[in-house]
Amino acid sequence: MASAATSEVLRFDDVNLHFDGTPALDHVSFAMNSGETRVVFGAAGAGKTVLLKTALGLVRPDAGHITLFGEDITRLKESAMYGLRSKVGILFQEGGLFDSLTIAENVAYPLVNQQARGNGRGPEWEEEVDAKVQESLNFVELGNTLEKYPSELSGGMRRRVGIARAIVTGPPLVLYDSPTAGLDPITANLIVHLLIKERDTQGIAAILVTHRYQDGHLMANFRYNPDSGRIEPAREAEGPGGVRTKFFVMNEGRLVFQGSEAELRASQDPYVRKFVK
């Protein structure tokens, strides 16, 4: 029996999904517990984004079962999904920011939405939202962009705003879809550092889809030191990296590899080796 500290947050049981006869997910099975990280590699069109969208119930599988926070969401009605989704943060590949809203309104959106769905508004509600938005934007080092619009920010800044929005409600599971794609190495490393910091300060579970081996390596081997405020190599014994970070490699909808970084590096599969640099 899993303890509360390591409870299962997400499980895929033999999930299949086809688009126009082409497999997007092909017999995918895995499980992950709270506080764990999965790094997903794969070529374009391998099914990485679909994996995340299926986990969140945005796309329904043809067969198999998906369990999110202990609830089978495979055939759950859309209206019943909204409550569960509020426990999951997601950063979309293109950011998914609402371009007609300011940065502050974008980040506040999940909070406002939760209130709109029936939690009621107390007198100090707006102040609480403002404080959380500011805190979340400070976390991604964009605390001075409150009144700007997404179009006024660079691609890297928009991704960071996306991260701020994904984590503003403090969800126990966050899904990151290619947060470093198309960014310069400095910005990409900054974003991965933010993900490590979020993981280690909040203890969240995360799935990170990426093309860069370096992103997974950093997630698996580095930790955030709250005393120094810096990212530093994690020793074997103190993790959170190695033991709680596993790597997936996807190819044409199939999970062709699941394992630790050491196992990934040792793999002789030519497709898997393409992602190890």
Binding site: L56, Y82, F92, Q93, G95, G96, L97, A116, R117
Partner: protein, 250 residues
């Protein structure tokens, strides 16, 4: 042969599902009142200048053409009657709906289509918001509310344009024009003139939303969705007119 019709049937089925969910959401929370008011402003106030302009000139054109024909028979005194009946029954609702379709079905489709291709719709769902509740229902309510009002304004302005022609070119007094025009109308005309914009509003808003929601293929897809929304909603305006008119034929 059947394959040709399948996409049309599927689209119509999608339209019915969207309509059912949008109408059901009117009676279920959360209600996005701010969004409804914004859409009323965009669709109603935003369309007002063009509706006034086109209504005015259509009244003038109708006055000129009808006046000329009526003068042939020495019946120019009937100009108010003909202009008011034509405008209230047919031209006011149809012209206003076509203008709003051109302006707003395209706007709705492009706005929602852009949101679709930039993953904003998925983001909305992921953040726990029903996109139909947030995007479609407010546009439906707003259009159902403002299109009949715009039609009434277009009818009135059109009659004013007709009155100018009657007074200026046909030597008809103001009071004669308005008395004839007003007396010619029966409740059935008013009912017909108001039920149409109500139905057109449902078509314009939902077709715009449907093609926006179905958008795929980047910016090119947004352009395609916009064009389809205007074409399909315009066609449906005439189809609905053709079905409603016989009901009031007697």
């Amino acid at each position: 042969m059947l394959d040709y019709f399948i996409p049309w049937i599927e689209t119509f089925q999608e339209f019915l599902f969207l309509a059912a969910r949008a109408f059901r959401n009117i009676f279920r929370g959360p209600h996005y009142v701010d969004d409804i008011l914004i859409q009323m402003d965009v669709i109603g106030v935003g369309s007002l200048p063009i509706v006034v302009l086109i209504g005015f000139f259509s009244g003038i054109i109708m006055g000129l053409q009808m006046g000329r024909a009526l003068t042939t028979y020495g019946a120019q005194g009937q100009i108010g009657q003909i202009v008011s009946i034509s405008l209230v029954r047919e031209f006011g609702p149809v012209l206003t709906a076509l203008l709003v379709a051109g302006r707003n079905a395209s706007g709705i489709a492009s706005e929602i289509g852009s949101m679709k291709v930039t993953e904003q719709i998925d983001a909305m769902r992921a953040l726990g918001t029903d996109p139909i509740q947030k995007l479609v229902t407010p546009r439906l309510i707003a259009t159902m509310f403002v299109l009949p009002l715009l039609t009434i304004i277009a009818d009135f302005i059109g009659m004013f344009g007709g009155a100018l022609i009657a007074f200026g070119l046909l030597n008809i007094t103001w009071s004669e024009f308005w008395n004839n025009g007003w007396r010619a109308l029966i409740y059935q005309d008013l009912f017909q003139g108001l039920i149409k914009p109500f139905l057109f509003a449902i078509i314009i808003s939902l077709v715009g939303c449907l093609y926006g929601m179905r958008t795929s293929g980047g910016t090119q897809g947004v352009g395609r969705a916009t064009t389809q929304a205007v074409v399909v909603s315009s066609i449906w305006i005439f189809v609905i007119t053709a079905f409603i008119d016989p009901l009031f034929f007697t």
